[in-house]
Amino acid sequence: MVDTIITQGQTDVIGAMDNSEIDNPAEVESKAITHRDARDTVGEPFSKDPRMTCRNVNVFYGEKQAIHDVSLDIGANEVIAMIGPSGCGKSTFLRCLNRMNDTVDSCRVEGNIHMNNDDIYNKSMDVVLLRARVGMVFQKPNPFPKSIYDNIAYGPRIHGLTKNKVELDEVVESSLKRAGLWTEVKDRLDQPGTGLSGGQQQRLCIARAIAVSPDVILMDEPCSALDPIATAHIEDLIDELRQNFTIAIVTHSMQQAARVSQRTAYFHLGYLIEVGQTDQVFTNPKHQLTEDYITGRFG
């Protein structure tokens, strides 16, 4: 009986989420039943070697709850992909991890998020320090309207990471090299970062995040504004960065999730539905919603 309800409501749910509009009250009702039945996370949300642990995280925008009771580990040196229909709370969850949600007045976060055993929502946790350890790359490339050099040097400068110009130069060079941008820009470091192409700008933003040597890098749909070649570049880059960083990436492209991540988490209407090894999630999803999402998109 339960199964029938889920399958029946399914097409409606996906369809409604795609244009993220709910205009039929009856539909809302059927959805409510669907996700109430589906809210327990299936798969393996926990990791043996976690860098960040999230337990029972609830996020509210005012009265509206955007994340329901999500528990998930981000393992050390892994790339974890977060997928799901738009509006399901992927960004919201990601932004909890570096407390970027603090900037939204109406936003309230409940639950526990720890990083290396520090509660990041504890009063004693300095959010500046947290963001130095958890870097972020945004959906739209957003270099500062400053020179390429200053873009990279900004983080190390404000955190006092380098003692002198020579050290700073080294950090800039190594960050740009790791972001695969060095050869393209080494002769024009004094030119504005905003003058680069979209893909270059996004790699510049990645280099800017790397320059502070964070433990974790959060990426919120980093390729959604880029062309396929630039996207391939960034995907290669993510694979390389995995050796030194832990990466949590939100993506709307399932191919991308399959290509770059080791683990995949599927979100649906604010619930974490399924987590597992990427191969398993894509080839053998355990939850009906996951399967519908994956097949719906591929098919």
Partner: protein, 430 residues
């Protein structure tokens, strides 16, 4: 399908296209028309001001043969500074005029003769003697200021055709002037006095410098106060203040203040700064304070708009690498918002420069001859000077009024150009 009476989609689109283009064209013409009308008004305004005022930049001078009579300058023979200052220089001028026109007799006619040259002529002589005491006892030809009526006659502002009794300049005076002209003793020169002296009862000696200095000090005070306060308030409200009833209330009030008539600010300034705090009347300090109240809302509103226009992604980028809120503002938002803030400030300053009413209330309408040397000296301001001169009966003040307006407009243009240049400079950071 085309055979049917219903036209094809293409035809219908084409028919509607025509209408759309026509509408577009019409709209363009409206726009061009609006611009032309404003340009016309502007031309009329400028044309009127310039045609009335350009003659004020020239001034008539009369050449007199002066005998620096020791009996009139140093009657007791001693040559100290004090005696030289108090010498009877107007007596010397009268003597020289009597010598030039020996036929003139009778008290009345003599008085008319003396009034050909300005009261300022004796200052010219005094200055000369103080600089060169050796002139005493010698003869020299000196160019002195003509009286404003003569100046008007020479410039053609007084018609010779109207009957004598309706003229302030009488027939015999005109005759003397014509004779002086014939002798080459009358000349128009660039009017330096206008740019180097303060106000005067005599139009030919009245200048704009005092009012300009007053405006300068007033704006200095205004800028020094309203720029930092306005920007700090805007930054706080836009970047730090929580969104609640109280900040909404403040916002509404700021918007309201921007629309309060300026005279109200003047009355407020009179009550608070002068009557309560005891600051000096007629001083640029108080004028600046009052104008600060007036320009603050403008600057705050413009600055907030500038801050709002900085894309949120820049803030996110900075926050994302761990910048504190203050660092986000000072390193990223402020530099990007600066052009807009400067524009707002310049607009506010330009408003302040042209503001008259509140300055009248706080006494900056006084007749001030001396050029103010600081923010507490009594002074007027450029627009008030315009007001004062426009109110004066002498014909020669008409052209000076227009000239003062030109100077005022010149300063406004200068400020706006500065604003544009500053903005360009800051915008290069993008």
């Amino acid at each position: 399908m085309n055979n049917n009476s219903t036209p094809s989609v293409e035809d219908r689109v084409r028919a509607s296209l025509k209408k759309r283009y026509a509408r577009e064209k019409r709209f363009q013409y409206y726009g061009i028309g609006a611009i032309l009308i404003s340009l016309l008004f502007l031309c009329v305004l400028f044309g009127d001001i310039i045609s009335k005022g350009y003659t004020a930049f020239q001034q008539t001078y009369v050449k007199l043969d002066i005998y620096f009579d020791p009996a009139l300058i140093t009657p007791e023979g001693q040559m100290d500074q004090n005696t030289l200052i108090h010498g009877d220089y107007s007596g010397i001028i009268k003597q020289s005029l009597r010598d030039a026109f020996p036929n003139v007799s009778g008290r009345q006619d003599k008085r008319k003769l003396y009034s050909i040259v300005s009261n300022g002529a004796s200052h010219t002589l005094r200055k000369k003697v103080l600089a060169h005491p050796e002139l005493i006892g010698k003869k020299q030809s000196v160019w002195v200021l003509a009286d404003d009526e003569i100046d008007m006659l020479i410039k053609g502002h007084i018609s010779r055709d109207i009957p004598e009794e309706d003229r302030r300049l009488k027939d015999n005076q005109i005759q003397w002037v014509d004779q002086l002209m014939a002798d080459g003793r009358i000349e128009k020169r660039f009017n330096t006095t206008f740019f180097t002296s303060g106000d005067s009862r005599d139009p030919e000696m009245a200048g704009i410098l005092g009012a300009a200095a007053g405006s300068f000090y007033t704006l200095l005070v205004t800028l020094a106060l309203s720029f930092p306060i306005g920007i700090a308030a805007a930054i706080y409200l836009e970047e730090f203040a929580p969104q609640n009833r109280f900040t909404d209330f403040i916002e509404v009030n700021i918007n309201n203040l921007a629309a309060v008539p300026s005279i109200v600010f003047g009355l407020l300034g009179l009550a608070i700064f002068i009557n309560f705090l005891g600051l000096p009347r007629s001083a640029p300090l108080v004028g600046g304070l009052v104008l600060t109240l007036m320009t603050l809302p403008t600057i705050i509103i413009a600055s907030r708009a500038a801050l709002k226009s900085v894309p949120y992604s820049i803030r996110e980028a900075a926050l994302g690498v761990g910048a504190s809120k203050m660092q986000v503002v000072t390193h990223h938002v402020l530099p990007l918002a600066m052009p807009g803030m400067l524009t707002g400030t310049i607009i506010g300053m330009a408003q302040a420069l042209g503001e008259t009413a509140p300055l009248l209330v706080i006494g900056m309408v006084a007749f001030v001859v001396d050029i103010p040397g600081g923010i507490t000296d009594p002074s007027t301001a450029l627009p008030v000077q315009v007001f004062l001169w426009a109110d004066s009966p002498e014909r020669a003040f008409v052209e000076r009024t227009s000239a003062a307006i030109m100077v005022l407009l010149g300063f406004l243009a200068l400020m706006n150009i500065t604003g544009v240049l500053l903005r360009k400079r800051f915008e290069r950071r993008w």
